[in-house]
Symmetry: C2
Subunit: 440 residues, 2 copies
C-alpha cells in the first residue's frame, strides 16, 4: 500500500521554518499597507475563465490552470493575478465604496509556466491598489507603501531600485524618432522584449516601424535611458525631446517621493514597459540593484480596467510584489537569518520542567492550561527523563525565554524560574507566575 | 465592451469588513495554536489527484475540482482537505522532524458540492495535528487548542459542545448487539447516516446486519447515547456493556480535559462516527449547543495514514475547523460585532487635518511619511475642504484614535492633537509627535 508521493512541480511545502520566513515577508507587507491606510481584501482562488480572457485575450489560456467541475458547464481558472478580481469587486459595489478606495491583498497566484529561478507555479503576491485619484498622489502612496515594506525587511536603496517610466514620455520619444501612431503598440512590445532578442532581430523589427540606423540607435538609447530621480526630469527631456507637459506626470511623482524622503530609492528608466496591455500612464518595477534577478515588483496606472469589468470610469494605480524573487533578493543581500528561519519562529514564553515526580506531574497539565488560557505560550518536555540539565538544554533549543522548574519548592507553592536570555534564576510564587512570565 | 462579472458560485469576495471578520477568526485560531506550542505550516493549493484517491477511493473525484495543465499529463485537484498533504509532508521528512510533531495550518479548501447553508465551494479550515504520541495526551492537547480558540472568540460551554466518541467503545457495543465483525464497517456507516435515513430504511439496513427488533432498539440507544463528561465512563459502560479496557482511552481523554479545566465543554456522544474512513480510535466533533448547524469542527486519531503515504508508522491526532459554520455560530450567539466587522478593522493612530493652507499642505506629506516609517498608522483627508469640523467628523468615521490639526501653531513648530476617545485636546511639539501618538 505504501507509496511515495510528491507535491506538484513548481509548488512548495512550507515546513515551520519556511512558513516563518513567509510570515516574516507577509508581516512587512501587511504592516506597510496598514500604516499607509490600506485595508485588506481577498477574493476567490479561482474565477470564471472569461474574467481573464476578456482583458488578456484567449492567448492567456495556455498560461492558466483552467478546469471544469465534473458535470458542470462553467470554465474556471486558478487566478494568475489579482487585478481582474479587484476590478470585478470594485465594479460590483462601485457606488457603495469609500473614496478613494485603498485596498491590499496577499493571495496565492498560479501560472502554468515552466518553473525556473524566481518563477514558480504557485506563489504569493502582495497587491496594493489605490482607486479614485487622477493625480500623482496615487502613484506616490502606492510606491511609498512598497518602499517602506522593503525598508522594513532590511533593504536599502543600495540593494533595490524602484524604476519609473511613463507611457506618455516614451510615446513622445518614439514619435519624435518617426514611429508611426499605428505602430506605437508594436514599438512598446519591442521595447519590452529588447533583452530577449538579439541585435539583428531587434534591428529588423525596428526597421519595420520605419526606424533607420540613426533612429535605431536613438531608440536603443531611450530603451537604456536611466537617470537618478534628482536630475531625471531635465535628463529625460534632453534624451527624448519630450515636452514639459509630457514630463509633468513623472515629475510630480518624483516630487512627491522626494517630499516623503524616498527619492533615493528611485530612478527613471524609460526601458520599463510592463508586458500587460492595460497600463495607461505610469509604469514601474522594483529590481535588485545589480539587475541580476527578475523584477521584485511591478505595476502602474490602469485607468480603464474597472470600466472594462462593468463599473464606472475609475482612475487606478496598482502594484504587485511576489514572494519568490523577493526572498531570493533578501537572501542574496544577507537580509534573512542565517538559520533558515529558525529564529523567526514564535518564541515560547516558558518551557516547563517537572522535576519533583508525581506531585509535579499531577500539577503540570492544569498549570499549563491555565497559563495558555491567559495568553502565554508555554511548552513542556515530552521525554521521560528527569535530568534537569538535559531538559534545560531542550528549553534552550526551542528558544524559550524562561524555564520553569517544578521542584522541591512546590511544597511551599513556589517554582524556580530561570531567565534563559540573562542566565538568572529566581523563585516565584505560583500565584504570581503568569504575571512574572508576562514581564509585568 | 463593459460586461458584468460575478465570482464563481459558492465562493466569497472579502471586502474590508468581511476580511476583518475572517482575520478575527484566524487570529483566535493562530493564537491558540501558538500558545499550545504548535508551529504553522502550509502546502500547495492543489495536489496530484491520486493523493486524494489513494485514501478515499475514486468515489471522491466527483467532489473535487480536478484539472490538467493544457498540454500536461498530470491530473491535479484543488485540496478538499489538508490531512493528505500533511501526511505526505511528514512521510517525506519523517526522520528529520522533531518528536512529537505539532503543526497547524489555515489554508483554503475546495469542494465541488452544491453550496448551501454552512457549506461553500471554497472555505478556510484550521488544521491542528499532533503526531508521534500514542496516548491520550495527543487528544487532550488538540482538543484543548480547539476549546481555547473557541473561548477566545467569546464562546462558552453553553454555546458549543465538544462531542467525543471512540471506535473501540462503539465496536464493543455493536459486537455485543450481535453485529458480525465483517459487517462492522457497514454498521459504522449506518450509524453515521442515522439522521439521513427514515426509520424504515434504517431498520431494513440494520436487519441486514443481523439486528432484530431488540437489537435495533439497543443500536438506536447507542446512537443517541450522550453523557456529560463527569459521569460518562460509568454511563458508557452501562449503556454499551463495554469493558474497562474499552473505556480506558476515552476515560483518559476525559481525565486530561478535567485536569485542564475544560471538561465542562465536553460530552460523550457515541453517535459521533465521522464519515472519513481513516480514523482508528478517538473521534470528535464540535457542535453548536442546540445542534442546529452542521459540525463546527471534526477530527480524531488516524494512526495509519502517514504509513499509507510512504512514511513510518506514526500515531496521529488531528482536528479541522472550518470558518463558514463557525461564523454562523458566532453570529447566532451574538459573538460578532453588530457593525458587520467595521470595529474589527485596524484603527488609525491619527488622522491629519491640514488647516493652515499652503504651509501645512507642503509639510504634510513628509510628516506622514516619517510617521509611517516609524510604524504609525496615520491617514489624511482626500477632500479639498478646510472645514475642520467636517474633517474631524471624517476622523471619527474611520475610528482614528487621535486627530492632528496642522494650524496656526505650526509657525512655532507645534500642532493640536485631539484625543477622539476622551475628547481632550492638547498642543504638542512636532518633534514630540511620534512619541505622543505612540502613547509614550
Amino acid at each position: 500500500m505504501a507509496r511515495e508521493f510528491q507535491g506538484p512541480k513548481g509548488t512548495r511545502d512550507f515546513y515551520p521554518r519556511d512558513m516563518a520566513l513567509r510570515r516574516h515577508i507577509e508581516a512587512a507587507w501587511r504592516h506597510s499597507s496598514i500604516v499607509h491606510g490600506f485595508e485588506e481584501i481577498d477574493g476567490p482562488t479561482f474565477e470564471h475563465l472569461d474574467l481573464y480572457t476578456v482583458k488578456s485575450g484567449d492567448g492567456i489560456v495556455s498560461e492558466l490552470f483552467s478546469f471544469r467541475r465534473a458535470g458542470g458547464e462553467d470554465d474556471y481558472a486558478l487566478r494568475p493575478e489579482f487585478t481582474p478580481t479587484l476590478a470585478r469587486m470594485v465594479a460590483a459595489k462601485a457606488g457603495g465604496l469609500p473614496h478613494p478606495i485603498k485596498w491590499f491583498a496577499i493571495p496565492s497566484h498560479f501560472r502554468a509556466e515552466r518553473p525556473q529561478r524566481g518563477r514558480l507555479r504557485e506563489f504569493l503576491q502582495w497587491n496594493v491598489d489605490l482607486l479614485g485619484i487622477d493625480g500623482a498622489q496615487a502613484e506616490i502612496e502606492v510606491l511609498s507603501t512598497a518602499i517602506v515594506a522593503l525598508e522594513r525587511l532590511g533593504l536599502s536603496p543600495s540593494d533595490v531600485r524602484v524604476k519609473l517610466s511613463h507611457r506618455g514620455v516614451v510615446s513622445a520619444a518614439l514619435r519624435s524618432l518617426g514611429v508611426r501612431e499605428d505602430r506605437m503598440a508594436d514599438a512598446f512590445t519591442l521595447l519590452d522584449r529588447r533583452d530577449k532578442l538579439d541585435a539583428a532581430a531587434f534591428s529588423a523589427r525596428a526597421a519595420e516601424m520605419g526606424l533607420g540606423a540613426g533612429g535605431l540607435e536613438a531608440f536603443a538609447r531611450v530603451a537604456r535611458a536611466r537617470f537618478p530621480a534628482a536630475s531625471a526630469v531635465q535628463a529625460m527631456r534632453e534624451a527624448t525631446g519630450c515636452t514639459d507637459a509630457d514630463a509633468a506626470p513623472i515629475a510630480a511623482v518624483l516630487d512627491g517621493l522626494k517630499a516623503a524622503g524616498l527619492d533615493a530609492w528611485c530612478d527613471v528608466d524609460l526601458g520599463i514597459v510592463r508586458g500587460l496591455a492595460y497600463y495607461t500612464g505610469s509604469v514601474f518595477e522594483v529590481h535588485e540593484a545589480s539587475g541580476g534577478e527578475r523584477a521584485v515588483a511591478g505595476g502602474g496606472r490602469y485607468d480603464g480596467l474597472v470600466e472594462m469589468f462593468g463599473g464606472p470610469r475609475t482612475p487606478a494605480v496598482g502594484l504587485g510584489m511576489g514572494d519568490v524573487v523577493l526572498a531570493l533578493v533578501l537572501r542574496d543581500r544577507g537580509k534573512l537569518p542565517a538559520d533558515e528561519g529558525e529564529s523567526l519562529l514564535p518564541r515560547p514564553d516558558a518551557f516547563f520542567i517537572s522535576a519533583e515526580g508525581d506531585s509535579s506531574d499531577r500539577m503540570l497539565p492544569g498549570l499549563l492550561a491555565s497559563l495558555r488560557r491567559g495568553g502565554l505560550h508555554v511548552r513542556q518536555s515530552y521525554k521521560s527523563t528527569r535530568n534537569v540539565g538535559k531538559l534545560l538544554a531542550d528549553a534552550g533549543k526551542c528558544r524559550a525565554r524562561k524555564a520553569v522548574i517544578l521542584g522541591a519548592e512546590l511544597a511551599d507553592g513556589m517554582v524556580q524560574v530561570k531567565d534563559l536570555d540573562r542566565n538568572e534564576q529566581v523563585v516565584v510564587a505560583l500565584h504570581d507566575l503568569a504575571q512574572h512570565l508576562r514581564g509585568e
